[in-house]
Symmetry: C2
Subunit: 367 residues, 2 copies
Amino acid sequence: MTGIPLSDIAAGLSFDVPFVPPEALERARGRAFRARLGANESGFGPAPRVIETIRRAADEVWMYGDPEHHDLRAALARHHRVRPENVVVGEGIDGLFSVAVRIFLDPGLAVATSLGAYPTFNYCVAAAGGRLVTTPYVDDREDPEQLLALAVRERARILFFANPDNPMGSWWDAGAVDQLIRSVPDGMVLFLDEAYAEFAPPGTIPTIDAENSRVLRFRTFSKAHGLAGARVGYAIGAAAVIQVFDRIRMHFGVSRISQEAALVALEEQAYVQEIVARVARGRERLALIARSSGLVALPSATNFVALDTGRDGAYARRLRDELLARDVFVRMPGVAPLDRCLRVTVGPDPDLDLLAQVLPEAVAAAA
Amino acid sequence: MTGIPLSDIAAGLSFDVPFVPPEALERARGRAFRARLGANESGFGPAPRVIETIRRAADEVWMYGDPEHHDLRAALARHHRVRPENVVVGEGIDGLFSVAVRIFLDPGLAVATSLGAYPTFNYCVAAAGGRLVTTPYVDDREDPEQLLALAVRERARILFFANPDNPMGSWWDAGAVDQLIRSVPDGMVLFLDEAYAEFAPPGTIPTIDAENSRVLRFRTFSKAHGLAGARVGYAIGAAAVIQVFDRIRMHFGVSRISQEAALVALEEQAYVQEIVARVARGRERLALIARSSGLVALPSATNFVALDTGRDGAYARRLRDELLARDVFVRMPGVAPLDRCLRVTVGPDPDLDLLAQVLPEAVAAAA
């Protein structure tokens, strides 16, 4: 990199990209996937009225979107019974992580997370010059007590915790999460990633105490609302924290059409509930499909299921590759011991039909 | 902010937002604008085939977009006769500025720009802890020689230069810009903002020397292509610089629908040329409208015109407010002596009709 005057942080970053997209795999293969079950998108799509809204809003694409996200924030505030001042909207949870990390983190400060948790969050920490410290999953769940102990020991500025969790689909009940929230000490902020909140069983998501400045809760329209491609997420937090986003975030970053789509998606709560129910049935079917091939579906509170191969990462990687070769896009956790599993999104029935058809062949081929 | 453990940079930032959106003004007024001529959007909209593309792509919104922007980068590379490795796509030029500044800037380093140039760039510099140093416009143009001298004197890491310029609409010919590019010393990078390149007369935009690592050129689909609401911009630079974006940028930040829209917009070059011609005619009409009210339209190589009131910022502000009160959204430069002007976007004829109708009243009221 001789001659290019990089910042100290940029010069120290690796080229690791958090996720290789299915499109890149398709280009390398020269063939499209027949089932897209790797990115925890919602193959059920958004509510029909959301699609109609996008089509209608196409004419408005020449105008910048509202950088204050006024209508969407107001609707989110009503939905969550908080004030609009407690809500910030961004370019997906990833975009919000990127900003939120820079709000709190000075270079060199520690950030505590679980080994194998969300890679894009880690990527944001690295890009802010943070120092990642990790503690392992225990029984395929994040371990709030060990995470907190680690964070305190390392004087971490940020503690990351996802409930329900990705990539394992596991979860804690609201009481355990509330206990974690209450335990956050001075000088630390809990980033509570609730991307999959809508799919979790009752009693999983703690009541929102919006003015607690020690926790930021991250939500998205990418999962239950079926709008992954629209890039709309939001964070809920104390007004004094939320307003700091306005000093760093890209005010015009969210597409105008996406804002309108998200607003309508939020109104379509009956549809969201229908999707949640379909996903629950899909998880059961996925468990049966897995069992027929000798895999164990771990319990999940999300729109995906971790399928335990009962073997190691090398085997799971082979099995994943055999599924990819059979046109089924799936992913897997990145580190041991989680990487003994495949991570399969609950898709519509035709996608699961294909999985049911090819999984036995893939298992045979990977053996 | 007691008790909130902000990063040093975040704690030092002000709450100044670069632009108050028309939507916020409309909410405050309780009434919509009848002509939206303040944000240099294209009221002509994108090509009809772009709108059709958005409508058709609505069904795909459940899928994340391609984070490698493969097809769009390939098309941009063909269009500009560079390699795809020389192109990075982001959430508008603003999103790219935010990343690019962090690629080069360590906190405390200087960034040179003109006093009154693009506020959102300055905002990105502040959010990266940079130190902004400025030199005045001369005869309503940025002054490349003084800018360079300032940047050298302050050992600036980044030199910002827009051609054509915003907010004045002025420009330099390609020879002068090439001279500036050649003069960039070791350890400095020129950010060349070419958001309005399509509108500039022949001989304004220097030939692209893609592998020159001392310059990054920023372009957008927000202006001539009529896609401000879609949030798609791109930068062209040396492959060794462009790949560093992949370490910091949000890989999934650009909406899937927006990518497809931009791809088609790029194909519609005949439409872009038609818009450029309509904007040129609109600039002439705007000059006549201005002259009838005693204002002077400054020469412009963009889709907007700076209207010189011949008086001071206080007067121009009153005149702007009188236009806003008459439902015409316009903006004005932020600092003297530029702020003696109003900045008016060239819109479709009905918008200019309204301006022609209300400008004399506004001038009378502001007197």
